[in-house]
Symmetry: C2
Subunit: 366 residues, 2 copies
């Protein structure tokens, strides 16, 4: 593609490059085309970095002999399109799937690679740039998980930044998540004589009401307010179209987001009493959070030296994956987290450029 | 098929004939084969009755010039098989789909037709025997509904008996039924920030709990205790497998069985306040009940002259269809109503013979 076309994968400016990346579809499990473009651009424009692939993930690393190594990670995949597959530029606003989550971040990583190649002497740290697959789907597909399993040395480092949407705030740590499926049994009967059976939905009703009425706490960790939550995300009882049968089965799925000072076991112990009355409870998902680690020297160097505002990360992110391996990590990237996964996803030129400037300054090439 | 085979459609004894009828599959919408057998047997063994077909229903009538006409109705169809499609005789017990509901009743009707043909001079009333299709499925398919619409004269009469399973009790009148679907809206959001959305299941929780906790009344009509009920039969909220989305939709289906002294409008007014909080409420089904009419001369002639025990019918039956047309009706037939629609459905020889004897005596051929 030649310079000057609307979608220009050779674009040098971050906004144009982000637009070009949005134009390449990369729904989870279908990132190969985008990974190839990233790989080719890195080989062309940042050839002094070592470049390796694991699945559809691409990892580029400097080897400058610096004391510390910083890992910067951005996922290649997007959620499914929602009428927003085609990028649309209005002035300095880019609309479209993945514009904020997180192709703006990928453009920043590509540009950093090019600067590190062009002016390696300025780099304050060695840098690992991880472009990874399948962040938006079940954890077992996650590209970082796979690299940590198959080639953990590729993600070695002293500090990690995930280019999650934070609107240029530092979002420190992340909350944990645990999801329960509670099942209620019953006995079928004709609804004209319900006392001959046992209504599974009626049995679940008190638990559903208890969960809905639960008021979650806000837990302060390192001065940050982690606002927990408890949400019934699914309820399924009875048989569609069968109005004359007392239902013998009702399933309730409830998700808990918990502050990073608690373990999944703590969260389990907090939620179980609310499920009392269920015949069985299964844990569908359980992931620890990540402490904000604001007193860690590398974290405070990032936050304080760059003068960035800090708030807690409420959703789970891959910072927990680094944290669980002893690598302090935080979330920092362009884009408004509130519009992630919405049809109206967008990112501004300024948001991308400011996030780039911050990261470039931290790395030393800014 | 020759006399003496295990399944003998020429059987004279009621138990053997019931067994033969059970061996002919007749799930709703697939009653044609059974209807043909009924039609042929009537033409062969009760040729002085007029025999007519409407869809897969068969109506046989005497024309003896009696003062009153009694309509006796039995449905041809069964619910779907549940491992019980093949009839099995153990001593004087017949097991199998439709044995009680209601092929025992159909055998009785066939035998009455034959007696009315053989000894018309004994008949106290003119008699209409209605073998009808599609009682076990949605009302719009109901054979009696179709006959009343297309050939109402075929069901003219002064009194009707439906051969529903009553274990040889008179089950008087029937309760009405009304089914509501309540919908709750919400707004999607990421479960890490649920306060950005609105959880439709949480909004429904209070209504579900209110419905589950509701204690229905027992209403006395003509001295009979109609035990009402209110059952949540279906609840469906959220998206299967999506644990990180605050659900934006929850549907609750609730069925009410109400005493026959109330109209559907009365029942609607009783239930609506319990659904307060729903964004929309749709009535999926609404059928009036039938008063027991125990003081009606024909009903009391049946009940008192034959010395039968009486209890209220709690489920909706086609007696309401006759009652709504000014024809007093009651339920009376062999078989235990508690085992209708179960895999263990069965009927005893004695139950069929006693019900036959009662009806034959009422008609005058016993």
């Amino acid at each position: 593609m030649t310079t000057g076309s609307v979608v220009d994968l050779d674009a040098v400016d971050l906004f144009g490059l982000t637009t070009a990346l949005v134009a390449v579809p990369s729904e989870s499990h279908q990132e190969a085309a985008l990974a190839r473009i990233v790989d080719e651009r890195l080989r062309l424009r940042a050839p002094t970095l070592s470049i390796e692939a694991v699945g559809a993930s691409v990892i580029a690393r400097t080897h400058l002999g610096r004391d510390r190594r910083v890992v910067l990670g951005g996922h290649l995949d997007t959620v499914p399109a929602n009428g927003n597959a085609v990028p649309r530029v209005e002035g300095d606003v880019l609309h479209g799937l993945g514009s904020a989550d997180m192709k703006g971040g990928l453009a920043i990583l590509l540009r950093l690679a090019e600067e590190l190649h062009a002016e390696p002497e300025r780099a304050r740290h060695d840098v690992t740039l991880a472009f990874y697959e399948c962040e938006e789907v079940a954890d077992r597909f996650n590209g970082l998980r796979r690299i940590f399993e198959e080639r953990p040395e590729l993600l070695d480092g002293d500090f990690a930044v995930l280019l999650e949407l934070t609107d240029a705030w530092v979002e420190a740590g992340c909350q944990g998540v645990i999801v329960f499926e509670a099942h209620f049994d019953g006995e079928r009967a004709h609804t004209a004589r319900p006392w001959m059976g046992r209504n599974a939905i009626h049995r679940a009703a008190e638990v559903i009401a208890r969960l809905a009425a639960h008021e979650s706490e806000t837990v302060v960790v390192d001065g940050l307010e982690y606002r927990e939550s408890l949400q019934v995300v699914r309820v399924d009882g009875g048989i569609a179209g069968k109005h004359n049968v007392v239902p013998d089965s009702c399933t309730v799925v409830v998700g808990r987001r918990f502050a990073p000072c608690y373990s999944p076991a703590d969260a389990d112990a907090q939620v179980r009493p609310l499920l009392e009355g269920a015949d069985s409870v299964e844990v569908l998902q359980s992931q620890p959070g990540a402490l904000p680690n604001l007193t860690n020297p590398l974290v405070s160097a990032f936050v304080d030296d760059l003068g960035l505002p800090v708030r807690p990360k409420l959703g789970w992110t891959d910072v927990a994956r680094f944290a669980s391996r002893g690598i302090p990590a935080l979330n920092f990237g362009p884009g408004d987290p509130e519009i992630a996964h919405t049809a109206g996803e967008q990112v501004t030129r300024d948001s991308i450029e400011r996030a780039y400037a911050t990261l470039a300054r931290f790395v030393g090439v800014g």
